[in-house]
């Protein structure tokens, strides 16, 4: 039988040195008794037992994960912890993967011990209550706390990081921690009588505790699961728990039973808030409404169900009398968030192509055939969905109104959805692209249509050569637009 007496309850270095020596000396776990100096059982007077064997030759390694686990477990108050750790260390030499085996009783026990220590550290961070002694600048904050495990040394740095600019002490029965602004110091434990018994803010804190509590939703078990009774005696607010619970039933009953009172007369629901909503229809511009008025109307559009899931209507943008109108399919993720057309990846592609074709985006009107984003949510992303024919039709009146308001000479339909909306029928892109088509418009304002691909098509092409080729074709199409714009400018 071997006796190992460690220097303290948290003497990890001592445990590690002894465990290494014992393991290399092939001392079986059952042959070791672990204790802390000063706590040795009388039965095992150190002299009566052989000292651990001298350091044998050789070395062995354990994973960093085990070291971390052991450092944690050693803080537990269970006297068996040193022995369990040594037993696992012993077994780890034969099976390096042992820690993965959560179903093993030793591993399960270690993880239970480690969890209890972590929880106690966390509860100390949460439940320490400082009381102020003296007033600034000669004040000091002092707390009394009773941890379940040997965690004060391990938890003190948390308070040093958080309360670095104030002097504080945390007093406990076994050890006290102090901070002077430079380093943490530890002194032996004291009795509770040494700690202050009041603080000028405590009544305010109790007022907060009582006021934030909702008596209509009593869940005492849930509270106790997270704030076990053993901590209550050092929490000033815990004195309120019983009276608050006792009053809760009555308070809730009174709220449910009491007849509603008359509303405050001065605050009767005001009409103007309602009025505010309905002031958008009118427009001083007789005939075609202004774009601003159309945009306001479209914001509340319910012509198809797409509005429900989308953030907002994304209306067209550009000069009121642009000579050219670009029409895309529908807003995408970014457009839906920003409320502007073509500001996402496809918009960047469009901007680049417009520049390469010599077109100033500020001079054209940019819009979409469908003005709400259609998608399905997949976790944290939204997958784009192609709009259906009924959705394209439902949205077409907005395109028609934009057309009437802007009166462009040329409309560029980008992609199949835009072509379908602009030309009023399903139109194959490749057969129609790149040439001007006379669209049936009213005779006073003839409109020509140019069909091309949607810029997002270029983003989807997998192969770089095809991408470059198709990009050039897209720019070629836009150069027709550029020519058109020059002519319009000249006219």
């Amino acid at each position: 039988m071997h006796l190992v007496a460690l220097d303290s309850d948290i003497d990890f270095a001592g445990w590690r040195a002894a465990a290494r020596r014992l393991a290399l000396g092939r001392v079986k776990p059952a042959e070791v008794t672990w204790t802390v100096r000063g706590d040795e059982p009388e039965l095992f007077a150190p002299s009566a037992l052989p000292a651990p064997p001298a350091v044998p030759e050789g070395r062995f390694n354990v994973t960093a994960k085990f070291v971390e686990l052991a450092q944690n477990v050693i803080l537990h108050s269970d006297p068996q912890r040193f022995a369990v750790l040594y037993r696992v260390l012993w077994r780890l030499r034969a099976n390096h993967e042992l820690l993965q085996l959560a179903s093993d009783p030793d591993i399960a026990q270690l993880s239970t011990l480690a969890r209890a220590v972590r929880r106690d550290c966390h509860k100390m961070q949460a439940f320490v209550r400082f009381r102020e002694i003296g007033r600034e600048p000669n004040n000091r904050f002092v707390a009394w706390f009773e941890p379940a495990h040997h965690i004060v040394e391990a938890t003190a740095p948390f308070f040093a990081r958080r309360f670095a600019d104030m002097a504080w002490s945390i007093l406990t029965p076994k050890v006290c921690a102090h901070w002077d602004g430079h380093s943490v110091m530890f002194t032996p434990g004291v009795s509770q009588a040494e700690a202050p018994s009041e603080d000028r803010l405590e009544e305010t804190w109790l007022t907060y505790y009582a006021s934030i509590f909702n008596p209509a939703r009593l869940k005492v078990k849930a509270m106790q699961a997270e704030m076990p009774k053993r901590y209550w005696r050092n929490l000033p607010e815990a004195a309120l728990i019983k009276p608050l619970i006792a009053q809760a039933g009555r308070a809730t009953g009174a709220m449910i039973d009491s007849a509603a009172t008359d509303p405050r007369p001065s605050m009767q629901r005001r009409e103007d808030a309602m009025k505010h909503r309905a002031t958008t229809d009118h427009d001083d511009n007789a005939g075609a409404p202004s774009l601003a008025a159309l945009r306001e109307q479209a914001a509340d559009c319910r012509a198809c169900p797409l509005w429900k899931d989308a953030t907002q209507t994304v209306f067209g943008e550009g000069p009121q009398h642009a000579a050219v109108m670009l029409v895309g399919e529908q807003p995408g993720d970014k457009e839906d968030l920003a409320g502007q057309p073509f500001v996402g990846p496809a918009g960047q592609m469009l901007d680049r192509a417009l520049r390469d074709a010599g077109i100033d985006r500020g001079k054209v009107y940019v819009t979409n055939a469908v003005k709400h984003f259609k998608f399905v949510p997949r976790g944290k992303i939204r997958l784009h969905q192609k709009p259906t024919t009924p959705e394209i039709r439902a949205c077409r009146p907005w395109y028609e109104r934009e057309l009437a308001a802007v009166r462009p000479a040329l409309v560029v339909a980008m992609g199949a959805t835009a072509a379908q909306s602009v030309l009023g029928k399903i139109t194959p892109i490749n057969k129609t692209r790149g040439r001007l088509i006379d669209a049936a418009g009213d005779s006073a304002h003839p409109v020509q249509v140019l069909v091309t691909v949607h810029p997002s098509y270029l983003l989807r092409l997998p192969d770089e050569d095809a991408k470059a080729r198709e990009y050039d074709r897209f720019v070629d199409d836009l150069k027709i637009v550029a020519k058109h714009l020059k002519r319009a400018d000249a006219a």
């Binding site: 934030i212 209509a216 009593l218 997270e226 809730t252 405050r264 907002q312």
Partner: protein, 411 residues
């Protein structure tokens, strides 16, 4: 009115907001000795718990409970007869610092009734955060964002705050316009969209700086929202699909569900009733299934409109999809294991690590913290296979329903 009296009114006015989280922000501390406070970047700290089971992590208050709006479900609506109060900016700053130094709180969660205008209100809320940061406060700050507030104010709020939130309130926009006529569901979503863009920009700006440009800090703990449960006729189906939509659209950290609770001086338009706490609990469980267990909003409920109250949504799903079981725990994939009743995320990770070394048996369940009775009908282990009849039995569901309980006699 003294600060303590104001606190009683303005904490009471704030308690219907469920969120008290102080998690998920960047790592900060005060080791340089020039400031106060720290955040650890991971989970926050709950400094206390009230008998309603809710955590108290932040000083959760309104700047004022005076409000122009008349939202029928709200204790602070314009027509309510509750006592009114207003904190000054300095009072909130001092109270936050005083509470923080005593380790009562992780920081501040500040909201406000709408006074004068959206911009005025937002400016007041932002002033508190600005002042706290100017005094080198490094604890957690959560600010309620007023929809339609000016973009510059929102950008400034994100500069100081860890988290921003805008409450969607109700899943159905029509209910919202009925119960909260001054609120505009579209404006709420537009503002969430704006926050999302700024959050993305700040996140991308941190890593990609080819031009040396760094996007300004913006609410590192992201945005969240809250839905009130039981004030209107919305079904769980519609609530969950709204949540899925919000998570996907605005990358929310959390959707909070808040059971509509009786309030002092309630409106006549809403029937007084105890809050549907169990329903709220089931919605949180379903929310978890969507976020961490690979469930789509639609399949949690299949065709029914409401979640079962007597059992958790995963168990209810498993009972409706018995053809997928029993599942061999020693072979099934992670995604399949996550769908077994009684298997949590950590349990599944432990199973995957352990089964490589030895086939799992019934006697291993306890060490893995798996509830036997719940899981056994659905799983195959090396020494267990549930009787065919059990899984096909019409009475299997009965096994899981809670036994009738005598009501307790209080505490």
């Amino acid at each position: 009115m003294d600060v303590q009296r104001k606190l009683a009114i303005l904490a009471d006015a704030a308690k219907y907001d469920a969120s008290c989280a102080s998690s998920g922000t960047e790592k900060r501390d005060s080791r340089d000795g020039k400031g106060l406070g720290s955040t650890d970047g991971g989970m926050g700290i709950c400094h206390s718990y009230a008998p309603d089971g809710r955590c108290i992590s932040l000083l959760k208050i309104l700047l004022t409970n005076a409000c122009n709006y008349d939202c029928l479900y709200c204790v602070n609506r314009a027509s309510s007869n509750v006592a009114r109060a207003r904190f000054t900016v300095d009072e909130v700053v001092q109270l936050t610092l005083d509470f923080y130094r005593r380790n009562y709180i992780e920081g501040l969660f500040l909201s406000s009734g709408i006074i004068r205008s959206a911009d005025y209100t937002m400016e007041q809320v932002v002033s508190v955060a600005r002042k706290l940061r100017a005094q080198n406060f490094r604890g957690y700050i959560h600010l309620k964002t007023i929809p339609d507030a000016d973009d510059a104010l929102i950008a400034e709020a994100g500069l100081y705050a860890d988290r921003l939130s805008i409450n969607i309130e109700l899943s159905d926009p029509q209910s919202l316009s009925k119960l909260a006529p001054e609120k505009n569901g579209r404006a709420i979503r537009r503002s969430m969209g704006r926050l999302r863009l700024k959050l993305d920009e700040a996140r991308d700006g941190r890593k990609a700086t080819p031009q040396g440009r760094v996007a300004p800090r913006f609410a590192p703990a992201g945005q969240s929202t809250q839905m009130i449960i039981g004030a209107d006729a919305a079904t769980d189906q519609s609530i969950l699909s709204t949540s899925a939509n919000l998570y996907g659209s605005y990358n929310l950290k959390r959707v909070y569900y808040s059971a509509f609770s009786p309030i002092p001086d309630a409106s006549r338009a809403l029937p007084p009733q105890p809050p549907p706490l169990l329903r709220e609990h089931r919605l949180y469980q379903a929310d978890w299934l969507m976020r961490f267990y690979g469930f789509e909003a639609g399949e949690i409920l299949d065709d029914s409109a409401m979640l079962a109250l007597e059992m958790d949504p995963k168990l209810a799903w498993a009972l409706r999809h018995r053809d997928r079981f029993p599942l061999d725990v020693n072979r099934a994939s992670r995604d399949e294991l996550l769908r077994v009743p009684g298997f949590g995320r950590r349990t599944v990770e432990r199973i995957l690590a352990a089964r490589g070394q030895s086939a799992l048996r019934v006697s291993d369940l306890a060490a893995l913290h798996i509830p036997r009775n719940k899981a056994l009908p659905f799983i195959v282990l090396s020494d267990h296979r549930p009787a065919r009849q059990l899984l096909e039995s019409a009475t299997l569901a009965e096994r899981f329903k809670p036994r009738a309980m005598q009501l307790g006699f209080g505490f």
